[in-house]
Structures are given as structure tokens and as C-alpha cells.
Amino acid sequence: MLSLIEILISIFVLLGSFLSLIGSLGIMRLPDIYSRMHAATKSATLGVVLLILGTFTYFLGEGIFSLQLLLTIAFVFLTAPVAAMIISRSAHRNGVELWGRTKHDELQESYPEHLEPERENEKVERP
């Protein structure tokens, strides 16, 4: 049978894997790059963080305090939003289309005239 700590680890691992899978499914299913970013940042991040927590717990059980793993968690939290922001911003500035059912695009308006990227689906509503 599983010991208590093993149960804890198993939960972390399964939950982490599951969330990561959700993240990847989101990346697969969601309609445009911007929505996919949501999946990538929220689910994948938490999934990985949970899993590493599981690993951390495992080694704690072995008597090893692995700072590297904790640092990894911090790192992921710190960097995921940055990556998300830079990727989505660069996509937007280069005219990557928003999904057809997107409602507003206030960012587009903030761009100077000559830099406005051309988008094919101009039907995006502008308030």
C-alpha cells in the first residue's frame, strides 16, 4: 500500500499531469494564439508547479531539501507572465489574426497609424 507521503506525492503528480494536459489541450483546441496563451500560462504553469511540488515532497521524504526545485517553482511563476506578454504582444503587433468572434481590440487603436498591422479579419468590433 501507499504510504501517506506517497499518496500526497501521487496527488501532486496526477493533478500536475492533468493540468498540464489541460494546458496542452487548450493549446490544441482554443481558436487563436491569444486564447491559447491563456491555456499555456495558467494551466501549464500550475500543472508544472504542482508536479515539482510533488517531486520536492518526494525528496523531502527522502531527507533531501532540494532548493533547486523550489527555485524552479519561483522561476516558473516569475517568467510565465513575461513570456506570455512578450509573445502575445509580438503576435499582435505583427498582425496575427484574432479569432473571428473576438469582440473588441482596443490595443489596435493605440498603435500609431503607420504601424498598424493589417489583419485579415477586420470584422473585429471596435468600440
Binding site: 491559447r36 500543472g47 508544472v48 508536479l51 522561476f75 509573445i87 504582444r89 505583427n94 496575427v96
Partner: protein
């Protein structure tokens, strides 16, 4: 039992990785591929985490951390490159 659970975790992560690869190959835009690469890196972290448990070694702790760092660095570099065609500005401000 415990090992079996870990194996299940690995398989879930494998599927997850496969989905990222799928997105990377499919695109359609470059940014999709970059996102795929980014979350691929994250998933790898999880994957290695499980392997560490399975192999019962903390030898890969550094690998995990480095992977976290590098997934970030490469995503940022790619995105920045895609945004402006340069990776390192000569004089941006």
C-alpha cells in the same frame, strides 16, 4: 502501485508533449509554434520531475531549473525576434 501512478503521470505528460508538438507542426502562425515550444519546455520540467521520482535521484534537479530558465530565455528571444526581427537591440532607448 506508486510506480504505476508515476508511469501514468509520464504517459499523461507524453500525450501533453505530443499535443505541443502537434501545435508546433501545425502552426498556423509562428507565434503558435513559439507558444508550443514554451509549454513544451514547461511540460518537460514536469516530465523530468517524475523521472526523478522514478529513478529516485535528485541528479536532475539542476536540469529542471536550467530547463525553466532556458524555456524562458528561448521563448523571449524568439518572441522578441518575431516582433522586431532583432534579438539584441543595438540601442533601443
Amino acid at each position: 502501485m506508486f510506480e504505476a501512478i508515476m508511469q501514468v503521470g509520464l504517459i499523461i505528460f507524453s500525450i501533453s508533449l505530443a499535443l505541443c508538438v502537434w501545435r508546433a507542426l501545425k502552426g498556423p502562425t509562428l507565434w503558435d509554434r513559439v507558444v508550443a515550444l514554451d509549454s513544451f519546455g514547461l511540460n518537460l520540467i514536469g516530465f523530468i520531475g517524475i523521472i526523478m521520482i522514478l529513478q529516485s535521484t535528485n541528479a536532475f534537479a539542476e536540469v529542471v531549473l536550467v530547463l525553466g530558465i532556458l524555456a524562458f530565455v528561448s521563448s523571449v528571444a524568439l518572441a522578441k525576434f518575431l516582433e522586431r526581427g532583432v534579438v539584441i537591440d543595438r540601442d533601443s532607448h
